[in-house]
Symmetry: C2
Subunit: 243 residues, 2 copies
């Protein structure tokens, strides 16, 4: 009997250690899928400045920098590009935006066609961004989850995927975001937008996965929201793009 | 050459006639799925009265009639029930609510596990309801699509499915709503709510499929929104209900 009690104790210890390990590692694999824990990005004060600046420039009739698509340049890698985190005044070519995001903003890059994005601290006040880069099918993608008050006093969550490439390249892919918890499942499938388009306008148009606070709570576990992400090539779109 | 021109003209005529036939028939089958054209329900003035009445009764500390669940009654068919269209003062037993909905509110009832709900005139101002009954797996379900201004000046669309039965019976099912158009797909899966619960509270909690106006427009075709509906039995839930 004592032997069984000790065995049980040892198993409990192992479970506890395993849990600690999970908490410490912050990036782990569950049921064969890569789970990436994403903390909010620390650019709130910049974001506020940027919003004010964007509003001021619109009022003065100046277009925000994200409005130059520049598809006339033949090599996609040399298309002029601004940092998608509009908080940031960086400008450069499309080919160096990934290294800029990694080095300056310390955004993680994950490999694999299917990953789980686990956004922590969902209770933080709006505006807050959760961002990761996702590398698959020979391209880099940027997943943006934003908590924003589109209607004052009513924060909502907006999730979208951008391709670090041109709109023509983006048409070759389909992305899927999936939430699954509490006997509810929500799936959103769409063509990613190009990073040369404005994340802000995609979100303000609501052409993305939109969650109100109560639904986000139903899908959350202990303040964290898990979003399953899958990217595939879309045959139909690629043939359309060739026409 | 003249022969080909005439042939082309005849084909165009046929296409036009086919389109007219579609418009006239209003309930047709596409790709083996039953498509049901659903016009807005004509109960807006009642709805306004009901909202005012519900608000008044809440202010006076009186619970609205939909709050009595009455699961203590042993025969589910004899559970006291109010009309789910709260515009209506009708009260009766669960077993007669279907005939009340058909006879008094002229709500269509459709057979089949998978149907397409085609809501017309999406441009109509909020509040507007589109409602059908759906009979499958030995039960009747009520699909409610509502256009409502949760935030003033920003109408949204809310879609949910209610079981014409008790909450315990509702736990045995899963419903899926699917929108698919313009290279976007949105799927919502959940357990239906019982008709003994308040449709209003499900919608105000946002625990349902929620669409903003711009997304509803992307999924609409010519002012009509097609929602694919599927109902299945949920094995896990039924075993939980038995416990």
């Amino acid at each position: 009997m004592l032997f069984f009690t000790q065995c049980f104790g040892a198993v409990l210890d192992l479970i506890h250690l395993r849990f600690q390990h999970y908490k410490a590692k912050r990036v782990f694999s569950a049921a064969g899928q890569l789970v990436c824990v994403v903390n909010p990005t620390h650019s709130l004060k910049y974001a506020a400045t940027r919003c004010a600046a964007a509003q001021a420039s619109t009022e003065q009739g100046i277009l925000p920098p994200c409005h130059h698509h520049g598809e006339a340049v033949h090599d996609p890698q040399l298309v002029p590009c601004t940092c998608p985190l509009f908080s940031c005044p960086w400008e450069g070519h499309l080919e160096v935006v990934v290294s800029h995001l990694r080095q300056t903003h310390r955004i993680n890059i994950l490999q694999g066609a299917e990953i789980v994005f686990l956004a922590t601290d969902m209770h933080l006040p709006a505006p807050t961004d959760w961002i990761i880069m996702h590398s698959c099918l020979g391209h880099q993608f940027l997943l943006v989850l934003r908590k924003q008050e589109k209607y004052e006093g009513h924060p909502q969550f907006f999730a979208t995927m951008m391709l670090i490439g041109t709109p023509t390249q983006a048409n070759n892919f389909t992305y899927r975001l999936e939430l699954n918890r509490n006997q509810r499942r929500l799936k959103w499938e769409a063509t990613p937008r190009s990073i040369l388009e404005c994340v802000d306008s995609v979100i303000s148009d609501g052409d993305c996965l939109v969650l109100n606070t109560s639904l986000a709570q139903l899908f959350s576990d202990n303040g964290s929201l898990a979003i399953g992400i899958a990217i595939t090539t879309s045959k139909v779109h690629s043939s359309e793009a060739e026409m």
